[in-house]
């Protein structure tokens, strides 16, 4: 007879067998699901990491234009050009000379050929195009020569060109594509009318393209057209442009390829902030191209410009500062602001203005003019040393519009100031009214003198004062009108132009500064 115990044994055995099979299946499933989860997590993390790696913007190289010396515009030549303008009276002449002498521009800034050759009143399309070709070709040739066989022109994926005041058809970008035989599928954008801050707008555009694509090479070309934009009238607000704008240009190669960027990149873009104050009518019209009452084209700079610039700057700084300053400085500033509000004492022990030098080592300020540099320097609490690169650029190259910040960067590099880890702030202003800023981090010690090669040793000079300061003191002479008339007659009759400006000044005015 089979006992109950004997009957239970096979049942237990089978139950145990099922249980062990089930538990091993469980273990297998648990292992499998863990593996799948880890795999999925790794894929997600790798995706995020890949995106982050390729979202960087590296500056591989940049080249600023150094025009040929036959295009220099010293003060006496400027005076001669002004004197050619028949509709200028003594008051305008005085005004212009004062502006030129007090502008902070030196004797070696550059202008377009048609103006130097006496054709400023009737520029042709060929003049404008040749000015652009003279700006682009040398810098692009040099940038590609330095890039070497690794980055031939056919490797360029994105081309952004910005020239504010000249836009022919086909575009200047198409002209570059034609000359350098760039690829058919290139992503090309030709920006125009965007003012002196267009350089950073181009960088912003390239940065956005980099985030949308991987392993791209971008070429940015910036310059300004002066040849067709010389003002031949007598409205003071429109003559200022003639005194300040000078020829210049820059080409820069950028990439978002992390390997290439780390190997060959000079700087990496950390932050970029754009501010547009177009909603304010005064700001919008304070710097604009227009015609005067006689229909002559020129660039009008109004009295509201400093206010607009200050407001745009403030709004830009408000967004930029928290992103680039160290936490300690942000806390200190907040504390100081609260203390200032609560404390009734007139003297506050803490400075309630933000100290940008805690987050920035070098400042590339747009060389819009002496007033712009000084105004920004005061707002940011910068000393002479911090403003030196911008002042020297204004002196050596003038206001080259959108490419000015690259010349300032070139000065710092030529002076061997840019070391690995340093942070460089570029700050630009432009018509519209815009204020754009960006922060670069230097990746390697930068020592290329570039456009400053031939003159960096002479900077900073002992004085930035215009050498014609004394010479033009006679402009306050009551009999100056007769003098001006005789000077103009001698120029129009084409007899020795330069010697007319070497008339000995009346003794009473020899030491009088030009107001």
């Amino acid at each position: 007879m089979v006992s109950k115990h004997d009957k239970a044994k096979p049942l237990t055995k089978s139950l145990l067998a099922c249980f062990s099979a089930a538990s091993s299946a469980m273990e297998f499933l648990a292992l499998l699901s863990t593996l799948v989860f880890l795999h999925a997590l790794l894929v997600l993390l790798w995706n995020l990491l890949d995106r982050w790696r390729h979202s960087g913007c590296y500056l591989l190289d940049y080249v600023c234009l150094k025009p040929t010396d036959d295009r220099q515009l010293p003060t006496d030549l400027c005076g001669e050009i002004i004197a050619r303008n028949d509709c200028l009276g003594l008051s305008e002449y005085k005004f212009l000379l004062k502006v030129i002498v007090g502008s902070g521009l030196g004797e070696a800034t550059y202008g377009p050929r048609n103006i130097i050759e006496g054709r400023e009143a009737s520029p042709s399309l060929a003049d404008s195009i040749s000015e652009m070709e003279e700006s682009f070709n040398p810098v692009l040739d040099e940038v590609f020569r330095r890039a070497g066989p690794d980055i031939p022109p056919s490797a360029v994926d994105i081309l952004v060109v910005n020239v504010s005041m000249f836009s022919p058809a086909p575009s200047l970008a198409a002209r570059i594509i034609n000359r350098y035989r760039l690829r058919e599928d290139i992503l090309v954008y030709n920006l125009s009318g965007m003012g002196c801050s267009a350089s950073l707008i181009s960088i912003d555009l390239i940065r956005n393209m980099f985030k949308a694509h991987k392993k791209m090479i971008a070429l940015m070309v910036t310059s300004e057209s002066i040849a067709p934009n010389w003002y031949n009238g007598n409205r003071r607000s429109m003559m200022l442009g003639n005194c300040l704008f000078r020829s210049g240009g820059c080409a820069a190669l950028l990439t978002n390829d992390p390997g290439l960027g780390q190997r060959r990149g000079k700087m990496q873009l950390s932050r970029l902030v754009r501010t547009h104050l177009g909603r304010s009518n005064d700001a919008h019209t304070c710097a604009c191209q227009k015609e005067d009452d006689e229909g002559r084209h020129g660039f009008h700079l109004s009295r509201e410009l400093p206010t607009a610039a200050a407001q745009a700057f403030f709004e830009n700084l408000r967004e930029l500062a928290p992103r680039i300053l160290p936490m300690a400085e942000i806390c200190r500033y907040l504390f100081a602001s609260i203390w200032k509000k609560k404390s009734s004492a007139k003297q506050d022990p803490f400075s309630s203005s933000v100290d940008m030098k805690t987050g920035v080592d070098h400042f590339c300020l747009h060389t819009g003019g002496k007033a712009v540099i000084e105004g920004v320097g005061r707002s940011l609490g910068l000393d002479e040393k911090a403003l030196e690169p911008s002042r020297m650029t204004l002196h050596r190259f003038g206001n080259t519009s959108a490419s000015s910040v690259w010349y300032v960067l070139g000065y710092m590099e030529a002076k061997k100031k840019l070391r690995r880890g340093h942070r460089v702030l570029m700050l630009t202003f432009g018509s519209g009214f815009k204020c754009n800023s960006c922060l670069w981090v230097v990746l390697r010690d930068m020592e290329d003198p570039g456009a400053w090669e031939h003159c960096i040793k002479a900077y900073p000079p002992e004085t930035l004062a215009n050498p014609f300061m004394e010479k033009y003191g006679w402009i306050n002479d009551p009999n100056a009108e007769l003098l001006v008339q005789s000077v103009k007659e001698s120029i129009t009759s084409r007899c020795c132009c330069l010697s007319c400006f070497h008339l000995p000044p009346p003794i009473a005015y020899a030491a009088a500064p030009v107001p």
Binding site: S33, T34, F37, H39, N47, D50, I177, H276, L277, H284
Partner: protein
């Protein structure tokens, strides 16, 4: 190398789906076996895979709505007005007038095309102030309309892109828009210039790039051509063509990558393909701004224009074909290509039938010859190019905005249905050929207003080869 990297494509197409399938299997088994740990792990795995998949996908770009300018009747330039004006301009001689008359007779333009008021003056006023005035009139009209249609407030616009080829004042037209509509201080504004009649698609491409990077954005794209400062007042024949063909027009469109907008979007942007033939000298030189012997600036069109356009189109098709053509057409094309290479070079090349890929075609209304050439090259039927021909007839060559007028025509005729695919092709100086492919995502009835509201019932019209008005 552009686009998603090879590794990214591998992840998206193989690894992620495999992981999702495995996670789904585990999810099912864990539900059946009722194991909490398994459930947790498998749902987490599925979530990670889903996130990775969504991240690697490009963001969808939608066209919420668009608006085209309907110029004032007072700007109308019937042939008689144009010829009378030409005869009274002292800078035209008899031969130039005769030449313009012959161009107009064969142009395919109708009697209702418009020129800006400054061009009606004797002599035409070519001032910058006049250009700004025209820009304000055309741009503000279309932007007002598009904001009204999309029920958008200007302060919610995140980026603005304006393209205008031949007029770029400082501050630019985009700054003018920001000023007029009091947009935010962090609006991204871009002003494209000098990029020709295909710049509208370039502007859309720029908007698309921005929408890939930023989420929940609205981008306003404005395409126009300002004619006031560009009237050619000379006698060179190659430069008189633009006077005869270019007419006033503008279009504004609102693009977004939001999943839900106040007004449901009309179209989804599927592809943009850009081809730039500037490296090839004849292409670069076929449309150039130049000075004539008298010093007058005008746009010169070379005789090679059609062949250059054909080459640019072929190049563009080579890229866009594989993206849009059905497999059957691609196989036939491949077979013909291999046969030409392997068997005989006289084997006829196979031109794919793009009518199998697209329901509607918007071909830049550059001129009658351009539309004829494309109809022949792409083997299209007259009905396929009707929108282009009728736009040329009613509005003339409005440069970069012409594609939008053509799209509006198709909608006004009630032919646009949900799911239809539209191919926009633009040509421009440089020489460029740019294509955009849209898919209609909702039924689009006749909007009731728009540039064709008052005249679509008269269309299509037969446009004779020559309209004689000697």
């Amino acid at each position: 190398m552009r686009g998603v990297s090879d590794a990214g494509r591998l992840a998206r197409n193989i690894l992620i789906p495999a992981a999702i399938a495995a996670a789904a299997y585990l999810l099912l088994s864990s539900v059946l076996i009722n194991q909490t740990l398994l459930l947790l792990l498998s749902t987490s795995a599925a979530a990670c895979c889903g996130a990775a998949f969504l991240l690697s996908r490009p963001r969808p770009v939608y066209l919420v709505d668009y608006a085209c300018l309907r110029p004032l009747q007072t700007c109308r330039v019937p042939f008689a007005t144009y010829m009378e004006h030409a005869r009274m301009c002292e800078f035209f001689d008899e031969k130039s007038v005769e030449f313009q008359m012959r161009i107009l007779e064969r142009s395919g333009l109708g009697e209702e095309t418009c020129l800006p008021p400054a061009n009606h003056y004797l002599p035409p006023q070519k001032t910058m102030e006049g250009g700004r005035w025209e820009a304000e009139m055309v741009v503000f009209s279309v932007v007002d309309e598009v904001l009204a249609r999309t029920k958008m407030e200007a302060k919610n616009v995140d980026a603005v892109v304006v393209n205008c080829s031949l007029f770029a004042p400082t501050p630019s037209m985009v700054d003018m828009v920001v000023n007029r509509y009091k947009m935010r201080s962090n609006v991204r504004a871009y002003n494209l210039s000098g990029m020709g009649c295909s710049a509208g698609i370039i502007a859309v491409d720029l908007a698309r790039q921005l929408l890939q990077v930023h989420s929940n954005w609205y981008v306003l794209v404005i395409s126009t051509e300002i004619l006031t400062p560009n009237y050619y007042a000379g006698r060179s024949r190659s430069m008189l063509l633009p006077n005869c063909l270019f007419r006033m027009g503008a279009a504004a469109s609102l693009l977004s990558n939001r999943s839900s907008t106040v007004v449901p979007p009309k179209y989804r942007l599927l592809h943009v393909v850009r081809t730039h033939c500037g490296a090839h000298d004849p292409s670069f030189l076929c449309v150039t701004q130049a000075e004539d012997p008298a010093g007058q600036i005008g746009i010169s069109l070379s005789k090679d224009l059609m062949s250059v356009a054909g080459d640019a189109l072929r190049s563009n098709i080579t890229t866009i074909g594989p993206l849009v053509l059905p497999a059957s057409e691609q196989l036939r094309f491949l077979f013909a290509l291999l046969a030409r290479r392997a068997i005989s070079s006289s084997w006829p090349p196979y031109l794919p039938d793009f009518r199998k890929a697209f329901d509607h075609f918007c071909i830049h209304a550059g001129g009658r010859a351009v539309i004829d050439e494309l109809q022949r090259s792409l083997r299209l039927k007259p009905g396929d190019v009707e929108a282009s021909r009728m736009t040329l007839h009613r509005f003339g060559n409005t440069s970069s905005s012409s594609l939008w007028y053509e799209l509006s025509y198709i909608e006004a005729k009630g032919r646009m249905k949900k799911g239809d695919r539209v191919w926009m092709i633009g040509f421009g100086s440089g020489f460029k050929c740019n294509s955009a492919v849209w898919r209609c995502v909702r039924d689009v009835g006749f909007p009731g207003d728009g540039p064709w509201a008052e005249c679509v019932h008269r269309y299509p019209v037969h446009v004779p080869e020559i309209v004689s008005f000697a």
